[in-house]
C-alpha cells in the first residue's frame, strides 16, 4: 500500500451503547434479558439471605440456631470429624504432617531454582507413599496402629481418590501402549482388560471387591476392605484413563513415530522421549476430566461401608441431637468438592499453557 492505511473503525463506547448492543438489540433479546433479570432477583437474594444474612455462625449447639437461615454452627462443631472421620483425635497430627510434607515437596518442585529436582521428584513418587503408609496406618517407628475402619471424612476421600488417580495414570499409559502394540498377545490382553473394566459399573466393582473377593480367598487370608476397594478402583480408573491416553497417542502424527524409528531409538525410549510427551499434552483435558470423575465418585465408597466426606456428613446429619441440618451439610460437601475440582481444573489449564509454549510464535 502506498498511502497510509485507513484507521481501524472507532470502537463502540459507553455503557448505554453496550447495553443496547448486547442486551436490548431486538425484541427477543430484550425479553431474554428481562427474564434473566427476573430469575436473578428471584433466586440470588434469598440464597444470600439464607447463607449469610440470617445464618447463625456463633455457638456450639443446636440451640444456637434460631432457625431463620443456615446453621453453620452444625458445620463448625463437626468440622474436624468431617475432615478426619473417626481417626483418633490425639493421632490426627500424623495426617497433618503427611499432607504438610506432601505440600512442601510439591512446593519445592514448583520453585524454579531448587537443585536436584530429579531426586525430589523420585522421593515424592517412591518415598512419600511409604512414609504416608506408616504415618496413616502406623505399625512402625513407635506409631500406634489406626485401623482403616476408623479412617473417614475428607481424609478418606483424598486417600482413595489420590491412590486411584496416582495409580491410574501409569496403568492407563501402559494399557494404552499395549492396546496399540503390534504384539497380538499384549494387544489382546490389554483390550480385554480395558473393555472388561469399562463395561462394569463402578458400584459392581466396589461390591465385588468388598463382598465377592473374600469368598474366593482361602479362609484366613484377608485383605483390608479399604485396600481392596482402592485396588479395584485403581484398575477401574486405569481402564478409563487408558482410553483417554490412547486418544492422545492417535493424535500424534505418524511421521513422529517414523522419525523416532528412523533415528534408531528403541521402543521404550521412542515412547518416553518422543511420543508420550506429545500424546499426554493432547490428552490433558481428557485426563483431567477422568481425574475429576474419579475424585467425585469416591462418594460411592459409602455403599461398602466406608465413610468418605459425604458419608460422614450424612451420618452426622442423622444424629438425633442435630436433626434437620442435612441441607447445610450437603452445601458444605458441595463447596468442598467444588474447591478441589476447580483447583485441579485450574492447575491443568496452567499446565497446558506451559507445555504448549513451544507452539507460540509458530510460522
Amino acid at each position: 500500500m502506498s498511502a497510509a492505511s485507513p484507521p481501524p473503525p472507532i470502537e463502540r463506547v459507553g455503557i448505554l451503547r453496550w447495553l443496547r448492543d448486547n442486551l436490548f438489540s431486538s425484541v427477543g433479546n430484550t425479553l431474554l434479558t428481562l427474564i434473566g433479570l427476573g430469575l436473578f432477583i428471584l433466586i440470588v437474594p434469598p440464597v444470600i439471605e439464607w447463607a449469610f444474612v440470617d445464618a447463625d455462625f456463633a455457638g456450639a449447639s443446636k440451640s444456637a440456631c434460631t432457625g431463620e437461615g443456615a446453621c453453620w454452627v452444625f458445620i463448625k462443631v463437626h468440622l474436624s470429624q468431617f475432615i478426619y472421620g473417626f481417626y483418633p483425635p490425639e493421632q490426627r497430627w500424623r495426617i497433618d504432617l503427611a499432607f504438610g510434607i506432601l505440600i512442601a515437596l510439591a512446593a519445592l518442585l514448583r520453585i524454579r531454582r531448587v537443585p536436584h529436582k530429579g531426586w525430589i521428584a523420585a522421593a515424592t513418587v517412591v518415598g512419600f507413599p511409604v512414609l504416608a503408609y506408616y504415618l496413616f496406618y502406623g505399625g512402625g517407628f513407635g506409631l500406634e496402629v489406626v485401623p482403616t475402619s476408623k479412617w473417614g471424612g475428607l481424609f478418606l476421600t483424598v486417600i482413595v481418590a489420590g491412590v486411584a488417580i496416582a495409580a491410574s495414570l501409569p496403568l492407563g499409559i501402559l494399557l494404552a501402549l499395549g492396546r496399540r502394540s503390534n504384539m497380538p498377545v499384549v494387544q489382546a490382553v490389554c483390550t480385554v482388560f480395558i473393555e472388561l473394566w469399562r463395561g462394569v459399573p463402578l458400584i459392581t466393582v466396589l461390591f465385588m471387591a468388598s463382598v465377592m473377593l473374600p469368598l474366593f480367598l482361602p479362609t484366613g487370608v484377608t485383605f483390608d476392605k479399604l485396600l481392596r476397594a482402592m485396588v479395584g478402583w485403581a484398575l477401574f480408573a486405569g481402564a478409563y484413563t487408558a482410553e483417554v491416553v490412547r486418544g492422545g497417542l492417535q493424535g500424534v502424527p505418524p511421521g513422529q513415530y517414523e522419525a523416532a524409528q528412523a533415528l534408531g531409538l528403541p521402543y521404550w525410549r521412542r515412547m518416553y522421549l518422543i511420543i508420550l510427551p506429545q500424546a499426554l499434552r493432547i490428552a490433558i483435558p481428557g485426563i483431567v476430566n477422568s481425574f475429576l470423575a474419579i475424585f467425585k465418585d469416591t462418594t460411592l465408597v459409602l455403599i461398602i461401608g466406608l465413610f468418605d466426606l459425604l458419608g460422614t456428613i450424612q451420618a452426622v446429619a442423622t444424629n438425633p441431637k442435630w436433626l434437620g441440618f442435612a441441607l447445610e451439610g450437603y452445601v458444605f460437601a458441595a463447596a468442598v468438592f467444588w474447591v478441589f475440582c476447580y483447583g485441579m481444573s485450574r492447575y491443568s489449564a496452567r499446565l497446558e499453557r506451559r507445555l504448549n509454549r513451544h507452539r507460540e510464535g509458530g510460522v
Binding site: P253, G255, Q256, E258, A259, A260, Q261, A262, L263, G264, L265, P266, R269, L273, I274, P277, Q278, R281, L355, H358, R359, G361, G362, V363
Partner: protein
C-alpha cells in the same frame, strides 16, 4: 563388478534381492533388484504410486518387505529388532514433512539420538549437533522450536538431525515436495554439499536439476517395478522405455 570369491564379494551399501511387497492385495514392489555401492548417489523417480517411497522406506524397515532380501552394509533386515536398530543407526532419513519433534528445541532435536542411541555424553552431543547445524547454515536457530522456523529451515534442521548420528547412508523421501518454491534451493544446496562430501545417498525426488548435478544413477520406477536405470545423462537425453519417455515429457512439460 568382478566377483573375487565367496569371502570377498564386492560390498554394497544397499542391496535389494528380488524384493516384493504388498499392501493388502495390491502389489507395491514387484521383485526389485537394486545394488547401491558405497558413496554412490542414486536418484529414484517415477509417477506417484510407483512404489519409490516404499522402496527407500524398506531400507530402514519403516516398511517391511514380504519376499526377497534387503541388505544394508551386509546386514540383512529381518524380524530381529536389534539388527533393525543396528541398521537404523547407520541409515539417516529425511522426510517430505520434516517430522521434527515439535516439543523439543532445534538443538535438542539434533542431540537427542546421539545421547539416547549412541550414549554420547550430553555436552559432546550438543557440540556435535552445533557442528552439523553450522553445516546446514542454521546455528542461530539452535534454541528455537521447530514451529518457529520456515519450511526450508525445518528441512535443513531435519538433515542435520539425521547427520548427527553420523550415518553411512542417507535416505531422502521427496525432501523438497512440501516446500514453497523459494525454499527449495536452500535445501538442495545442502544436499549437493552432502553429496560432494561422499555420502551414500538414495533420493526420491522430482528435482531433475539435482539429479543431473549429483546423481551417479537414476532409477525410474513405475507400477512397482524398476523400469529403467541409467546415468542421468543417458536417462534424460535418451530414455529407452516408452514409460520413462512419457514420464519425462510430463514433468518437463511445465
Amino acid at each position: 563388478m568382478t566377483d573375487t570369491g565367496e569371502q570377498q564379494t564386492v560390498r554394497s551399501a544397499v542391496r535389494f534381492e528380488a524384493v516384493s511387497k504388498w499392501f493388502g492385495h495390491f502389489q507395491v514392489l514387484k521383485s526389485i533388484d537394486l545394488d547401491v555401492a558405497p558413496r554412490q548417489r542414486i536418484v529414484v523417480c517415477g509417477p506417484s504410486g510407483s512404489g519409490k517411497s516404499t522402496l527407500i522406506r524398506c531400507v530402514n524397515r519403516l516398511e517391511t518387505h514380504q519376499v526377497g532380501r534387503v541388505l544394508v552394509n551386509d546386514m540383512e533386515l529381518t524380524e530381529d529388532v536389534r539388527q533393525i536398530e543396528r541398521v537404523r543407526r547407520e541409515v539417516g532419513m529425511v522426510f517430505q514433512t520434516f517430522n521434527l519433534f515439535p516439543h523439543l528445541t532445534v538443538l535438542e532435536n539434533c542431540s537427542l539420538a546421539p545421547v539416547w542411541v549412541s550414549k554420547v555424553p550430553k555436552a559432546e552431543a550438543e557440540a556435535l549437533a552445533m557442528e552439523y547445524l553450522e553445516r546446514v547454515r542454521i546455528p542461530e536457530k539452535a534454541h528455537q522450536y521447530p514451529g518457529q522456523l520456515s519450511g526450508g529451515q525445518q528441512q535443513r534442521v531435519a538433515i542435520a538431525r539425521a547427520l548427527t548420528m553420523q550415518p553411512r547412508i542417507m535416505l531422502f523421501d521427496e525432501p523438497t515436495s512440501a516446500l514453497d518454491p523459494e525454499m527449495i534451493k536452500e535445501v538442495l544446496d545442502v544436499m549437493v554439499e552432502l553429496a560432494q562430501s561422499g555420502m551414500t545417498m538414495l533420493v526420491v525426488t522430482h528435482e531433475m536439476g539435482f539429479a543431473k548435478e549429483v546423481a551417479d544413477r537414476v532409477v525410474f520406477m513405475d507400477e512397482g517395478e524398476i523400469v529403467e536405470q541409467a546415468d542421468p545423462q543417458t536417462f534424460f537425453s535418451s530414455p529407452t522405455t516408452e514409460r520413462a519417455q512419457r514420464f519425462l515429457s510430463q514433468i518437463l512439460a511445465h
